[in-house]
């Protein structure tokens, strides 16, 4: 019994450490401006909560917060869809078909996933600038593929390998071509894995910072991480507004994580753990 109490005490402490910053952001976001400084700054509750910070976030004309959210949604969704379609074909070929240079391909994909983004940014930036693609969605989707595609291929390959070989064998006997086997049998079976991979790719694209910061510098094309990071003014930092903004972007992620935690965990660990 005693051990159990200690255990739950430990779990509670761990949860507190993990969740406290979120709680603190939330409290800060509903405190009236006057309570953000001085002794009230450290108080764990507020007697007169308000939504002023949230109103500020959405009403500032200089930083179109909704537009940032929209930009991130568009860029992340297209990046995810695009990389997943291409990665599905590649992953199937790697998992199921025989071809020369498979190991080289795998090695290259692994190497590319380890590339520091800073190593490709100069030519990518110059290229996009030359064709006037900076400050556009395409200008981000293209470089985002550098990390999204290897991530998707690597994850999907694991899932494609888990599909029993017998299913395909029997289809083969029935005379189905590799292409038919791919989209009639494998793709439907691997949908859950594809979905898990999609979540991981989407989150990676949603959170990307360096490319977004350098390529899309106009307010109308900034993504949410860049938008929030540049909330900090030159001299004053509007902590209440920043807190409200972080709460707004964190809530959808919390919902996503609560709904799909099993899948996300499976996706995250499939690369690192050999079953």
């Amino acid at each position: 019994m005693r051990r159990k109490i200690y255990f739950y005490l430990f779990v509670g402490l761990f949860l507190f450490a993990v969740l406290f910053p979120f709680f603190w952001q939330f409290i800060t976001s509903i405190k009236p401006p006057a309570e953000l400084f001085g002794k009230h700054a450290f108080s764990f509750y507020t007697t007169n909560p308000g939504l002023q910070s949230y109103i500020n976030v959405f009403s500032d004309e200089k930083r179109p917060f909704l537009r940032y959210l929209w930009n991130s949604t568009v860029v992340s969704t297209i990046t995810t869809a695009f990389s997943l379609i291409i990665a599905s074909f590649t992953a199937y070929a790697i998992a199921r078909l025989q071809f020369r240079g498979k190991n080289i391909l795998l090695g290259v994909i692994l190497a590319v996933s380890m590339f520091p983004q800073i190593a490709t940014i100069a030519p990518v930036y110059l290229f996009l600038q030359q064709f006037d693609w900076t400050n556009s969605y395409f200008g981000l989707i293209l470089p985002y593929t550098t990390f999204a595609l290897p991530l998707a291929i690597w994850n999907l390959t694991t899932y494609y390998k888990q599909i029993p070989l017998e299913l395909e064998e029997s289809a083969k006997v029935d005379g189905a071509s590799a292409f038919q086997r791919f989209y009639r049998i494998i793709v439907p079976l691997v949908l859950p894995g594809t979905f898990t991979t999609a979540i991981l790719v989407f989150i990676a694209a949603w959170n990307e910072f360096l490319f977004a910061l350098t390529i899309n510098t106009e307010e109308m094309y900034k993504t949410i991480p860049v938008g929030i990071a540049l909330f900090q003014g030159q001299f004053i930092i509007p902590w209440g507004d920043i807190a409200a903004a972080t709460v707004i972007v964190t809530i959808p992620l919390i919902v996503l994580v609560l709904f799909f935690q099993r899948w996300i965990v499976a996706g995250l660990t499939s690369g690192a753990v050999k079953e």
Binding site: F14, A95, K102, P116, T246, A272
Partner: protein, 431 residues
């Protein structure tokens, strides 16, 4: 069996991998080579004569034609102003010399013709087509042009003129000098220069310190937590879900959260650290060298330890419980069980986790960018490179720094993969 579509299996495989291979080549492999190529040149985006890779001598006709007549007329107007009367003879002489610049250029075949073509287009407000926008020169004529322009500048500096006129003429001469494009190949000069900069070694040191300490803490802490929660208990789902949240939010958001909590005046963590006597006063956290690095590491540990825990927990769950039961029957202590069973069986997971964490930590950019901006000895390689490229617009030196960062990452990967070897690849090799 022959497939229906007349494709052999192998050809279908090539067809399937083609789009990915194409994209990876175009947007990842080629840019890395291109970065290396750029690093051998003196490329600066804020200098029109150096904003690209140039291997030959050229004149930027577009801007030359634009600036040259303005210079001529400015000198002319200056010579008519009463304030400039003492130097009027000198100005007339200067005018002659400036006209001579164009005259001597006109001796080069086709120059005069192209000058007039560009001039006509500019008068009509049209866009100068690419083939007319630059004029190829040989080294000799480019050098003599530059020499003339420099001589003119030093002469103007000696003249007694109204200050605004003097600055205007000098500015235009300088602008015209910048239309002379000379090859900007510098070989490995950027690299040797970087090696001499203490700022570079410092950023490398900061990155290493950050990587080693944060990854070490995350691993130890993650392993401890994973071992403790590796059992069935009520609320397991909540723990797992909440563990995912710090991982899922953008690093920028977590950096801002911690920046607020570390704030010298209103930060709750600063207050807490101060009240337990860890720091002398609240402002210390983000303003002193040691505590700035501490803050960066602290924020990173908070964001990443849960993720590490998750990976290690998944690894632990693959270890069969019967092993421990057998060990228990044989009288092995908990310690022995940990070192003889858990650690060896968890080793592949630990190594993969370490590899990914180390690489990620070494690339660290957004956390430092937001939390400290690189002040107080927290500037990392990525941040340094970013500042050189996008604040100073120096893409040549920036690319050289990128290449160095890339090489560091490659070395780290090679060291790890030596350890992991087959482990990581096996995961994806055919049955």
């Amino acid at each position: 069996m022959k497939p229906k579509w007349g494709f052999s299996e192998k050809n279908i495989a090539y067809l399937f991998i083609f789009p990915a291979v194409l994209i990876i080549t175009v947007i990842a492999l080629y840019p890395v080579l291109r970065t290396f190529w750029l690093s051998l040149y003196d490329v600066r985006l804020n200098d029109p004569s150096k904003n690209d890779i140039y291997n030959s001598y050229k004149l930027d006709m577009d801007r030359f034609v634009e600036k040259y007549p303005i210079l001529v007329s400015l000198i002319d107007r200056s010579s008519k102003k009463p304030e400039n009367q003492p130097s009027v003879a000198k100005l007339h002489q200067l005018n002659e010399q400036v006209l001579e610049v164009k005259d001597s250029l006109s001796k080069v075949p086709n120059f005069a013709k192209q000058y007039d073509q560009v001039d006509t287009i500019q008068l009509d407000d049209g866009n100068v087509p690419e083939e007319l926008a630059t004029f190829a020169m040989n080294k000799g004529s480019a050098d003599s042009l530059l020499k003339q322009l420099e001589a003119l500048q030093s002469e103007v500096k000696k003249l007694k003129l109204k200050d605004s006129d003097k600055q205007g003429i000098l500015g235009l001469l300088n602008g015209i000098e910048k239309t002379v494009i000379t090859p900007n190949f510098v070989g490995f000069d950027h690299y040797t220069d970087i090696m001499k900069q203490s700022r570079f070694w410092f950023s490398l040191w900061n990155t290493t310190i950050f990587t080693v300490i944060s990854v070490f803490i995350e691993l130890v802490l993650g392993l401890a937590i994973a071992l403790l929660i590796n059992r069935q208990f009520r609320g397991r789902g909540i723990v797992r879900a909440s563990v995912l949240v710090p991982w899922a939010i953008p690093t920028v958001v977590s950096a801002l959260m911690w920046k607020f909590m570390f704030d010298g005046q209103n930060g709750i963590m600063a207050k807490f650290f101060h009240s337990i006597g860890l720091i002398p006063d609240m402002g210390t956290l983000l303003t002193s060298k040691f505590w700035s690095m501490f803050s960066v590491i602290f924020a990173d540990v908070w964001k990443t330890t849960p993720f590490v825990t998750l990976l290690l927990l998944a690894g632990l769950q693959t270890i069969s419980g019967s092993l421990y039961e057998a060990a228990h029957v044989d009288g092995a202590t908990r310690m022995q069980q940990f070192f003889k069973i858990t650690l060896p069986l968890l080793k592949p997971t630990i190594l993969v986790t370490l590899l990914f964490r180390t690489l990620d930590a070494f690339k660290i950019f957004d956390l430092v960018y937001v939390l400290t901006g690189g002040s107080n000895s927290t500037e990392t390689i990525s941040l340094f490179t970013y500042k050189i490229m996008f604040s100073q617009m120096n893409f040549g030196v920036g690319s050289a720094l990128s290449v160095i960062g890339f090489i560091c990452i490659a070395i780290i990967s090679i060291i790890y993969i030596r350890f992991l070897g087959a482990n990581i690849m096996n995961n994806n090799q055919s049955h």
